[in-house]
């Protein structure tokens, strides 16, 4: 079992997303320690990209702040490499395919392996196109987490869940990240259908899950929840660094309180 998959054992996992380098890599480093202390199970770190077409406004703006302050994929990987001994929680990099292609797929996998990263999520790299990267990730024993959506057919579901490792990212609605309309009205039947086809792989639910209320309402069906935009909003609302870190801590504690009641 991979380090990522192990985080779903005997509990509902909390997966949080922050944008790398927003507003600085120093802040990202501090947020990683804080989220780890608060008991987050997996930390996703966004690779900032100029044209994040699967993301809503909150993550778009976070990405822009990071780029404005000079964050690059290379610098992000260097920072993670520097702090790897202090990070026990699995780190997943989430970013767009052009960033990886530009870095070099083989070189990217080698570099993130050295940085202690456990897996990647590339939302614009569907199962049909993932061949080369999948090969290098497998060689390096890193997870490639693929996404399914409410309109994914059973046939594709099967192919995607067979190719996904670590967990299966179940997009909660037809929409972009941080979409307040979520989740999908027929979430229960959607996730039951996924479960039936996907077998034992843990299911993570994300996109538009914005706080304890929604977590409470929908946590019965998946094995974990993924929260990004709402956490970034809370962090950004803080005026000082201490306030930002405290906001992150409070946000996580509120979600953990809900999750503690479930197994």
């Amino acid at each position: 079992m991979s380090k990522i998959a192990a985080q779903f054992k005997d509990k509902k996992a909390l997966i949080t997303y922050i944008s790398g380098g927003d507003p600085s890599l120093e802040m990202t480093e501090k947020l990683i320690y804080r989220l780890q202390e608060e008991g987050v199970d997996i930390i996703e770190i966004g690779i900032p990209f100029s044209d994040p077409l699967a993301d809503g406004p909150v993550i778009q703006e976070a990405s822009q702040r990071a780029l404005k302050n000079g964050c690059t994929l290379k610098k992000l990987i260097e920072m993670l490499t520097d702090i790897k001994d202090k990070v026990k929680v699995p780190i997943v990099l989430m970013g767009y395919y052009n960033s990886v292609l530009n870095y070099g797929e083989k070189e990217f996998v080698e570099a993130i392996k050295k940085a202690g990263v456990s897996g990647v999520i590339i939302p614009d790299l569907p199962v049909d196109e993932k061949a080369d990267l999948a090969y290098y990730l497998k060689e390096a024993a890193l997870d490639q987490i693929l996404l399914v959506t409410p309109n994914t057919s059973d046939e594709r579901l099967k192919e995607i869940s067979n190719s996904s490792s670590g967990f299966l990212y179940c997009v909660a609605l037809l929409g972009t990240t941080g979409d307040a309309r979520g989740p999908y009205p027929q979430l229960e039947s959607y996730l039951k259908r996924v479960r039936k086809t996907a077998g034992d792989i843990p299911l993570g639910l994300g996109f538009g899950i914005d706080g304890p209320e929604k977590v409470k309402k929908f946590i019965d069906y998946p094995d974990g929840v993924i929260i990004g935009s709402a956490l970034i909003k809370a962090i950004t609302a803080g005026e000082t660094e201490t306030e930002k870190l405290e906001n992150a801590g409070e946000f996580v504690r509120n979600i953990k309180k809900v999750l503690a009641n479930y197994k």
């Binding site: 100029s50 530009n102 790299l125």
Partner: protein
């Protein structure tokens, strides 16, 4: 073990929608089912007699096809070399070649039972062509347009609104065509069940590059018949401007196997490639992935997309259709570029010599005549695709005048 990677790569290459290594489908999973549906519906109807007849009648009676192939005698005399013909796509309804594609796609949208149409637009020509067909077929229509382009092309914004479309201003990123495309894709992801996205160029995920090319190839098919009727042979050169590349693909494609026809795509080099302010993707870009397909791309060392620049909003795009990348890589088409000033000079020249005001986009293709035509003899033939007319650029006239002072 490297062999395994190559084997897996080959599997990818066999996927539909690739032109050698270019193309593919790099989109969020949400869009994969609709792309499959669109591909299946398109493949079914493209050979369907009734569908073809319906599209043919619309192109003839609604848009005014065939467009003429005009011998530009005065322009030819001016350069004193080859015979120059203009393929008059500017004479289409709505003033450019864009309607060839929007008519085709809206018929498919109706076949798929979609209620709503969205599109991105740069110069506004594709937005107007989309709003036009949405009005004609009574579908809801929303057009995404960069805030900067809305200012540059205000006339087209009024037109779209007159036609009943909602024009949504895009303020993210560089506020131009690239960002309008991002917003249109995000809208599509949110409304995938009832909405069809009419992409305006030979870009985007499969099947768009193939489908848009097929709807635009009528330009080249007509041109071939017309030049044979007039001259009894094929042209020596075909020139077309390239932003995303739909008018160029449309006129080039039927001639790809006619090896004696040399084809030249002209990109916008803005203030000059060295200035960094340009849109010359094939001349100065590297292979990458944007808006769903792999192609040449303007990007920095970190893989961030570099904003494109051109005086012409329709060429102001940092990507290019994957089939152009393919045609470049196999050396079938040559790609050059023209600056703002060169385009403006050609814009003025055609207006004065032939009484035809060309779009600034098409003026980039025209400007290459200065380099090419005088080198050729009188019995050689050049066809330029005059992809659109310049009315929309008139309210840019002040900018054009200023640029002219420097010519």
């Amino acid at each position: 073990m490297e062999n395994q990677a190559i084997k897996m790569q080959r599997k990818t290459d066999l996927n539909k929608g690739y032109f050698s290594q270019f193309g593919g489908r790099f989109v969020p999973e949400t869009l994969m089912p609709v792309l499959d549906e669109l591909e299946a519906v398109y493949n079914h109807y493209k050979d369907d007699k009734e569908f073809k007849q319906e599209l043919k009648s619309l192109l003839a009676d609604y848009s005014g096809r065939p467009t003429s192939l005009y011998y530009a005698e005065q322009l030819s005399k001016h350069y004193g070399g080859a015979k120059i013909y203009l393929k008059r796509e500017d004479l289409n309804h709505t003033g450019a070649h864009k309607i060839n594609n929007t008519l085709g796609q809206i018929l498919l949208a109706i076949k798929m039972g979609k209620q709503r149409i969205i599109a991105e637009t740069g110069a506004g020509q594709h937005g107007v062509a989309t709003a036009t067909v949405a009005a004609r077929f009574n579908l809801d229509c929303e057009i995404y347009m960069g805030a900067e382009d809305m200012e540059r092309q205000a006339l087209n914004v009024y037109k779209m609104e007159m036609l009943g479309a909602k024009v949504t201003e895009v303020n993210s990123g560089t506020q131009t065509l690239k960002d309008a495309t991002n917003e249109a894709i995000r809208d599509w992801v949110r409304n995938v069940e009832d909405t069809h996205y009419i992409i305006g160029s030979v870009v985007g995920p499969h099947p768009y590059p193939v489908m848009v090319r097929d709807f635009q190839r009528i330009i080249g098919d007509e041109c071939k018949k017309q030049i044979i009727a007039k001259e009894g042979r094929l042209p020596d050169y075909i020139l077309a401007c390239v932003g995303g590349g739909s008018n160029a693909m449309g006129i080039f494609f039927p001639f790809v196997d006619d090896k004696e026809v040399k084809m030249i795509g002209v990109e916008a080099s803005g203030k000059g490639i060295d200035s960094g302010k340009h849109a010359a993707t094939l001349s100065a870009g590297r292979v990458g992935v944007l808006h769903g397909s792999k192609s040449f791309l303007l990007q920095d060392e970190d893989g961030q997309i570099i904003p494109a620049y051109s005086i012409s909003a329709g060429l102001d795009y940092p990507g290019v259709g994957p089939e152009h990348s393919h045609l470049k890589s196999i050396d079938r088409v040559e790609y050059h570029s023209a600056t703002d000033l060169e385009a403006v000079k050609a814009f003025k020249l055609l207006s004065e010599k032939e009484g035809i005001i060309p779009a600034l986009e098409s003026s980039h293709a025209l400007s290459y005549l200065e380099k090419l035509a005088p080198q050729l003899s009188e019995d050689e033939i050049i066809v330029v695709n005059l992809s659109g007319r310049g009315d929309k650029d008139i309210n840019n006239f002040k900018k054009i005048k200023e640029a002219e002072k420097n010519v």
